[in-house]
C-alpha cells in the first residue's frame, strides 16, 4: 500500500474551508499600527523633500532618508548585465507611477491611507519612457546605464546562419505579449514587530520565499540574518509575484525596527495592479529556416523584454530575457541557433518571474512558426511538429541543454487523435501547442545564469516525536499547491505511516532548514526529493533500533502500517519512539540520540523536463469578435504523479491563467507612463464563464535522477494555453488571410478580420 499516486484529500482544506486559515492580514497584535505608502503620481520625475501632513492622526512618516535602509541590489555576474540599485523608498527620483516614496503609520488602515494622500513632495517632471521603443531611444533612467538595457546578451552566435537561410524556406514571425498581472487573490501583505526577548525582527509576510525575504531585510538594515525571522503563514496565491522581495515589505520591517511598534500593511488591489510586479511584456522578432519537408534548419531570434524600472531581488531583471533565449528551441531539434535577448528598462513597475516566465511567449513563437511552416509548405502542421520533435533522449541541444526522456511525440499524437473528430471551418478552429518545460532547476542550472543569489538545492528535516508522529520541516513554501498533503504522502510511504501521522511545516526561517522557497516548478521535484531522503534516513535509524529490539537484522525489518515488523515479532512505531526518547539505555550502542535527521537534495546538469500537448477548439462570434472555447484537451507528462487531483488542479488553474493571457488580460500604459488599468473593472481576469472544463490525459515518463520520479508541473498549463488558443483562433480565421501574433487577442482584431472577409457571412 503506497500513498504516493493517491488522490488523497488535502490536509489544508479542513481549516481553509471553515475560514480558519491564517493569512497574513489575519494576524493581529495589540498596539498595532497600520502602514500606507505615499506613491508617485507620475512615471518619471526628480523629487525633493517629502512634507509630512500636519495632522495628529498620523503616528509617523518615514521617507528614504529617515527610514535609513540600504538599497536592494540584485546582481548577475556577467559583463552584459548592469547592476542598478532599487532604493527601499524612492530617493531623488521616481521611475514609475505608483513608486513609493514615503511610508505613513497610523492607528488604522483608513487613517493611514488618509495620511498618505496628504503627503506632498516637490517634483520636477522628466520625460517618461513607457515603451521599449521610447526607452531604447531615450536617456538612461538609471545612473550607470549607458542605454536603457539592464541586460543585452547574445548567448548563441552562429556566423554561418545567414547562409542556411539563403537556401531555405523562411518563415518570419513578430510576436508580442502584453504586460500582465499575476493577480493572486490575496495581495501582498506583511506584519513586522520587534521581539525584545529574542532581539529579533519578526516579519510575517505573504511570500513564496521566506529565506530570501529574510536576506533582503537583514541586508537592508545591516542586521545579521539571525536577527530577522520571516514567517509565511497561509499564502493566498503567488504565481511568481511573491517569489521576489517587495520594497514595501522591507519598508514595513524597517519602520517596525525604527519605532519598536508592530506594523501591518496589506496591499490593496489598485496597488497590486499598478505598483507591485508585472510580467510577460515581450516582443520577439524571429525567423526560422525550413527545408521543403518541413524540417527546421535554423532559428534566429531577437527577444526584447520590457522589465520595468528596477531589477528585482533575488532574480534580477535578467530572468525573462535569459529564460526566453535559452529555452526557445523547446521540444524541437534546432540545428543552428542565433539569439539576442534584451531586458529593457522602462518607466513602469518592475517585473517578477510570473508563472511560466517567458515560456508562454517562446512556445507561442515556436508553435506559431510550426503552424505557419505547415501552411507555407502545404504540410499538416501537426506533421511539421512531428518531424521536428526531439525523439531520442537524452538529447543535447544547440542551446547546451540536455533534455531527459519525455513523451513529446506521444503527447502530440494522443492530443491530435482526441481532437480528430472535431469540425473545422470558418469561425471554428483547432489549435495545438506541443512543448516541454524545464523544471526543478538545480544549483548547477541556476549557476549558468550567474546569479549572485543562486538557488537550487533544498533541505528537509524529519523528526519523530515520542508519540510516534512525524514532523517534516522544509524550505519549500506552499501557497496553494498542497505540500502539506503531497509531502506527507511521500513521507508516509517511506516510514510505513498514514499521512495523517505526518505533519509538514514550512514558512518559518527559524524552524526550517535554509531553503529556496516555492517557484519554478521545483517543489515536488527537488523539495519532494529532499523530504524523501530525510524520511529514508529516519527510516534507517528506526530500522536499526527495531532490529536491536526485535533481535533481527536491519535488512529484515519492514516498516508498515505504523509498525516495525521483524521475523515473527513487531513493535509499533509509537512504542519505538517512546522508548527511543524515554529509555535511551535500551537503544543499540552507537545509535545517535533522538529521532531527528536532515537530508538535502540537488540536481546536477540541466534539470528535468516535463512535457505536454494542449489542443483547443475555439468558436468565434462574428458580431462581437468574442472567442468561445467549447473544448480544451491537455495531454501532459510530469513523470510520477504524487497526487492526481493536485496535479489536475495545477493544470486547470494554469490553463485558466494562460487563457486569460491569451484573450483578456492586459496592463496598458499611456505614453506618459500612466497606468490605464487600475481595477478589476479594467483588468479582465477570466471567470467561470470564460474558462471551460479542461479534459486532462496523463502520460508518465518518470524523472530518472531524483528521489520521487516527479517532474515539476506548476507552470505547464500557463505555458501551453496562449499558443494553443492563438493557433486555434488563427485556424478559425484562416479564410480571412489575417494572422494574429499578439496576445491578448482582442475582440476588435477578430471582428475586423471577419469584416474584411465579408463573404463568409452569407
Amino acid at each position: 500500500m503506497t500513498w504516493v499516486g493517491k488522490a488523497l484529500a488535502r490536509k489544508e482544506d479542513h481549516r481553509l474551508l471553515r475560514g480558519r486559515g491564517r493569512f497574513t492580514a489575519d494576524v493581529r497584535r495589540t498596539g498595532l499600527l497600520h502602514a500606507a505608502f505615499a506613491r508617485s503620481p507620475v512615471a518619471a520625475a526628480r523629487i525633493g523633500a517629502v512634507r509630512a501632513p500636519d495632522t495628529r492622526a498620523v503616528h509617523a512618516v518615514f521617507d528614504a532618508e529617515s527610514l535609513g535602509c540600504a538599497d536592494v541590489l540584485a546582481t548577475l555576474h556577467r559583463p552584459e548585465f548592469v547592476s542598478t540599485p532599487m532604493p527601499v523608498l524612492a530617493r531623488d527620483r521616481v521611475r514609475y507611477a505608483g513608486e513609493p516614496f514615503a511610508i505613513v503609520l497610523a492607528e488604522d488602515a483608513y487613517t493611514a491611507e488618509d495620511g498618505a494622500e496628504l503627503i506632498a513632495v516637490a517634483q520636477e517632471p522628466l520625460e517618461a519612457l513607457a515603451s521599449m521603443c521610447a526607452a531604447l531611444a531615450g536617456e538612461p533612467i538609471h545612473e550607470g546605464l549607458t542605454a536603457n538595457t539592464f541586460l543585452d546578451v547574445f548567448p548563441f552566435e552562429d556566423p554561418d546562419i545567414d547562409r542556411v537561410f539563403a537556401d531555405a524556406y523562411t518563415v518570419e514571425l513578430e510576436f508580442r505579449s502584453a504586460r500582465v498581472a499575476a493577480l493572486p487573490m490575496e495581495g501582498r501583505a506583511c506584519l513586522a514587530e520587534w521581539d525584545e526577548r529574542d532581539e529579533q525582527l519578526v516579519v510575517t509576510v505573504s511570500t513564496q520565499v521566506p529565506h530570501q525575504v529574510r536576506t533582503a531585510i537583514a541586508e537592508s538594515l545591516w542586521l545579521p540574518e539571525r536577527q530577522v525571522r520571516v514567517l509565511a503563514p497561509d499564502v493566498g496565491g503567488g504565481f511568481g509575484l511573491k517569489c521576489v522581495v517587495g520594497r514595501e515589505e522591507i519598508a514595513v520591517a524597517a519602520a517596525a525596527y525604527r519605532t519598536g511598534r508592530a506594523i501591518a500593511w496589506s496591499e490593496d488591489r489598485v496597488e497590486n495592479l499598478t505598483a507591485s510586479f508585472h510580467g510577460h511584456e515581450q516582443r520577439h522578432l524571429v525567423r526560422a529556416a525550413f527545408d521543403e519537408q518541413g524540417r527546421l534548419l535554423a532559428l534566429d531570434a531577437d527577444i526584447r523584454c520590457d522589465v520595468g524600472a528596477y531589477s528585482v531581488f533575488p532574480f534580477t531583471s535578467g530572468v525573462e530575457p535569459l529564460m526566453a533565449a535559452t529555452e526557445l528551441p523547446g521540444a524541437y531539434r534546432v540545428p543552428r541557433y542565433r539569439a539576442r535577448a534584451r531586458g529593457i528598462a522602462t518607466n513602469k513597475p518592475p517585473t517578477a518571474p510570473y508563472r511560466g516566465v517567458s515560456r508562454p511567449q517562446i512556445v507561442a513563437v515556436m508553435e506559431g512558426l510550426m503552424t505557419e511552416a505547415g501552411r507555407v509548405l502545404g504540410i499538416d502542421p501537426v506533421e511539421v511538429r512531428r518531424r521536428n520533435l526531439i525523439t531520442e533522449f537524452p538529447y543535447t541541444g544547440v542551446n547546451g541543454i540536455t533534455y531527459d526522456p519525455g513523451s513529446y511525440t506521444e503527447s502530440l499524437d494522443r492530443c491530435a487523435e482526441l481532437l480528430a473528430g472535431e469540425e473545422r471551418g470558418p469561425l471554428r478552429g483547432i489549435g495545438f501547442a506541443c512543448f516541454n518545460e524545464r523544471t526543478g532547476y538545480g544549483t548547477e542550472a541556476f549557476a549558468a545564469r550567474k546569479m549572485e543569489f543562486t538557488p537550487g538545492y533544498e533541505i528537509a528535516n524529519a523528526r519523530m516525536d515520542p508519540s510516534g508522529t512525524v514532523t517534516v520541516i522544509t524550505g519549500t513554501s506552499a501557497h496553494g499547491q498542497g505540500h502539506e498533503t503531497t509531502l506527507a504522502q511521500v513521507t508516509a510511504d517511506r516510514l510505513g505511516l498514514h499521512p495523517d501521522q505526518v505533519r509538514v511545516r514550512q514558512g518559518d526561517t527559524e524552524a526550517t532548514p535554509y531553503g529556496w522557497g516555492t517557484f519554478g516548478s521545483r517543489s515536488a521535484m527537488i523539495g519532494g526529493s529532499a523530504v524523501r531522503s530525510a524520511a529514508d534516513r529516519l527510516a534507517d535509524r528506526i530500522r536499526r533500533i527495531a532490529a536491536h529490539l526485535l533481535e533481527v537484522t536491519e535488512e529484515e525489518i519492514e516498516l508498515s502500517d505504523g509498525k516495525a515488523l521483524g521475523r515473527d515479532n513487531s513493535i509499533t512505531l509509537a512504542d519505538l519512539a517512546r522508548l527511543s526518547h524515554f529509555q535511551a539505555h535500551r537503544l543499540p550502542k552507537g545509535v545517535e540520540f533522538g529521532l531527528e535527521v536532515q537530508a538535502g537534495f540537488d540536481v546536477s546538469g540541466s534539470g528535468t523536463f516535463s512535457n505536454a500537448t494542449h489542443g483547443v477548439v475555439v468558436e468565434l462570434d462574428p458580431e462581437t469578435g468574442a472567442v468561445r472555447i467549447p473544448r480544451y484537451v491537455v495531454v501532459e507528462d510530469c513523470g510520477t504523479v504524487l497526487n492526481p487531483s493536485i496535479v489536475d488542479g495545477q493544470v486547470r488553474g494554469g490553463v485558466a491563467q494562460g487563457i486569460g493571457a491569451a484573450l483578456y488580460e492586459r496592463l496598458h500604459y499611456e505614453e506618459s507612463g500612466q497606468p490605464e488599468v487600475a481595477s478589476l473593472m479594467d483588468y479582465l481576469a477570466p471567470t467561470a464563464q470564460e474558462i471551460p472544463d479542461i479534459e486532462i490525459h496523463h502520460l508518465e515518463t518518470p524523472c530518472l535522477f531524483n528521489e520521487t520520479g516527479a517532474k515539476g508541473m506548476g507552470e505547464g498549463g500557463t505555458i501551453g494555453a496562449p499558443a494553443a488558443v492563438l493557433n486555434a483562433v488563427n485556424d478559425a480565421l484562416s479564410h480571412t488571410g489575417v494572422r494574429i501574433s499578439e496576445i491578448p487577442i482582442r475582440a476588435e482584431t477578430i471582428q475586423r478580420a471577419l469584416e474584411g472577409a465579408c463573404t463568409i457571412r452569407t
Partner: protein
C-alpha cells in the same frame, strides 16, 4: 475623521453590540470582530472573496458599510460547519478540489450556499453563471462548479428518498 456609531449585529447567531466608524466596511467590521474567514480581495466589489449573507442574501462585504448591517443577521464562512464537522458543501469543495490557496474560498462557499437555497436544482450552465460572480485565480473553476453540482444532486437525492438534508 471619527464618526462612531453603536450598532447591533448578529453574526452566525451571536449578537454583537459594537462601536463602528461610519466609513468602515462590513467586511472590515467582521474581521475586527474576529471573523477573519471573510477575506478582502479587491475592495471594489468585483472578486467576491468577501461575500457574506446578510439576512440570507449574498452581499459583497466590501460594498456594504458596517453601519448598514445594524439589526441584521449576517452569516459568514465560520457559520457553515457544525463545530469541526464540515457541511455537505464544504466537503464537496474538498472532494472536488474546489480550492487551492483557499483565499477566495469563503466567498464562493457563501455564494453557493445562498444560490442552492434559492435554486436547489440548477443546471451546470446555471451554476457556471453564478460561479462567474466571483474570481478564483488557482483552480480554473472546474472543481468549484463540480462541487456545487454534486451537492445539488445529493441534496435532491436525499429529498427524493425523504432523508433529511445533512
Amino acid at each position: 475623521m471619527h464618526d462612531p456609531h453603536l450598532i447591533t449585529i448578529t453574526v452566525n447567531g451571536t449578537e454583537h453590540e459594537v462601536l463602528t466608524e461610519s466609513r468602515h466596511t462590513l467586511a472590515d467590521l467582521l474581521r475586527e470582530l474576529g471573523y477573519t474567514g471573510t477575506h478582502l480581495g479587491c475592495e471594489h466589489g468585483i472578486c467576491g472573496a468577501c461575500t457574506v449573507l446578510v439576512d440570507g442574501v449574498p452581499a459583497r462585504g466590501c460594498l456594504v458599510f458596517g453601519v448598514q448591517a445594524d439589526g441584521r443577521e449576517v452569516r459568514t464562512v465560520e457559520g457553515l460547519a457544525d463545530g469541526g464537522e464540515l457541511s455537505d458543501l464544504q466537503r464537496a469543495f474538498a472532494e472536488h478540489h474546489g480550492l487551492q490557496c483557499g483565499f477566495c474560498t469563503p466567498g464562493f462557499l457563501m455564494l453557493a450556499e445562498a444560490f442552492l437555497a434559492e435554486n436547489p436544482a440548477p443546471t451546470r450552465a446555471e451554476i457556471r453563471e453564478v460561479v462567474a460572480s466571483n474570481l478564483c485565480r488557482c483552480t480554473g473553476y472546474q472543481g468549484i462548479v463540480d462541487a456545487i453540482e454534486d451537492v445539488a444532486g445529493k441534496r435532491a437525492g436525499a429529498a427524493d428518498t425523504g432523508t433529511s438534508r445533512p
